[in-house]
């Protein structure tokens, strides 16, 4: 089981835009990824699941995945969470 623990950097936490970008990346990851906050774990590709975690900026979350490609997938997703996606919004617009 590959695992990464990361502190969510986005100003608006993991809902709204950052959540959508994270979920889109998880769908593309190719391996099933679980995201855990506290006692609760949900599939990373479920927008509703991720929203239900109620993650705010500064919350520590753990990503988990198994199988071929798991390490790379988690690196990508952890890197995404550790960036402030809200601050990058102006650049995307």
């Amino acid at each position: 089981m590959a695992q990464r623990t990361v502190v969510v950097a986005s100003a608006s936490g993991l809902h709204a835009r950052p959540a959508k970008l994270f979920v889109q990346a998880a769908v593309k990851a190719g391996v099933p990824v679980t995201i855990r906050a506290g006692e609760k774990a949900v599939p990373a590709k479920s927008m509703l699941g991720v929203l239900s975690l109620g993650v705010v900026q500064g919350t520590e979350v753990t990503l988990e995945a198994d199988g071929p490609g798991a390490e790379e997938a988690l690196d990508t997703l952890a890197a995404l969470l550790s960036r402030d996606l809200d601050a990058e919004e102006a650049l995307d617009a």
Partner: protein, 142 residues
């Protein structure tokens, strides 16, 4: 759960909209009507929607403004706007919008509660098909 986020006057259960833009505008107006946002916030909601759909699943979208528009949020609030006839949402079928005006993280627990409801098919259906304002408020703030 904060119970001051959802004004009963911001629960509209019998709306119709020809398209996504009109639906987002309706949500923005509902938030403006209860004094939660200044007018420019509505345009910011449309901008956000165009750059990234706010569809979350189960026929529900959560329109909200961009980060740059937080200055137009006068107080944290949500609105619940139902479109019984449905609205095409970039290929998805939306019948319920939960519009969000938030300066900080005050609305996150409510959003998490909404997601919990939508993950339960029976509760999701009850929320989508609610015909009484009091039922919607009870469901979301219980």
């Amino acid at each position: 759960m904060r119970d001051d986020l959802l004004d009963p006057r911001a629960v509209l259960l019998h709306e119709s909209a020809p398209d996504r833009e009109a639906a987002v505008r309706r949500c923005g107006r509902a938030l403006a009507d209860v004094g939660a946002v200044a007018e420019p916030y509505v345009e910011a909601m449309l901008e956000r929607e165009r750059s990234l759909s706010t569809y979350v699943g189960e026929g529900v979208a959560i329109p909200h403004g961009t980060n740059a528009s937080k200055g137009d949020v006068l107080r944290d609030a949500i609105c619940v706007v139902r479109f019984p006839g449905g609205v095409d949402w970039d290929g998805e079928h939306v019948t319920l919008c939960v519009g969000i005006a938030a300066k900080d993280n005050g609305h996150v627990p409510l959003l998490a509660a909404l997601a919990e409801i939508l993950l339960d098919p029976d509760r999701a259906r009850a929320l989508r098909e609610a015909t009484e304002v009091s039922d919607v408020i009870k469901e979301l703030t219980a």
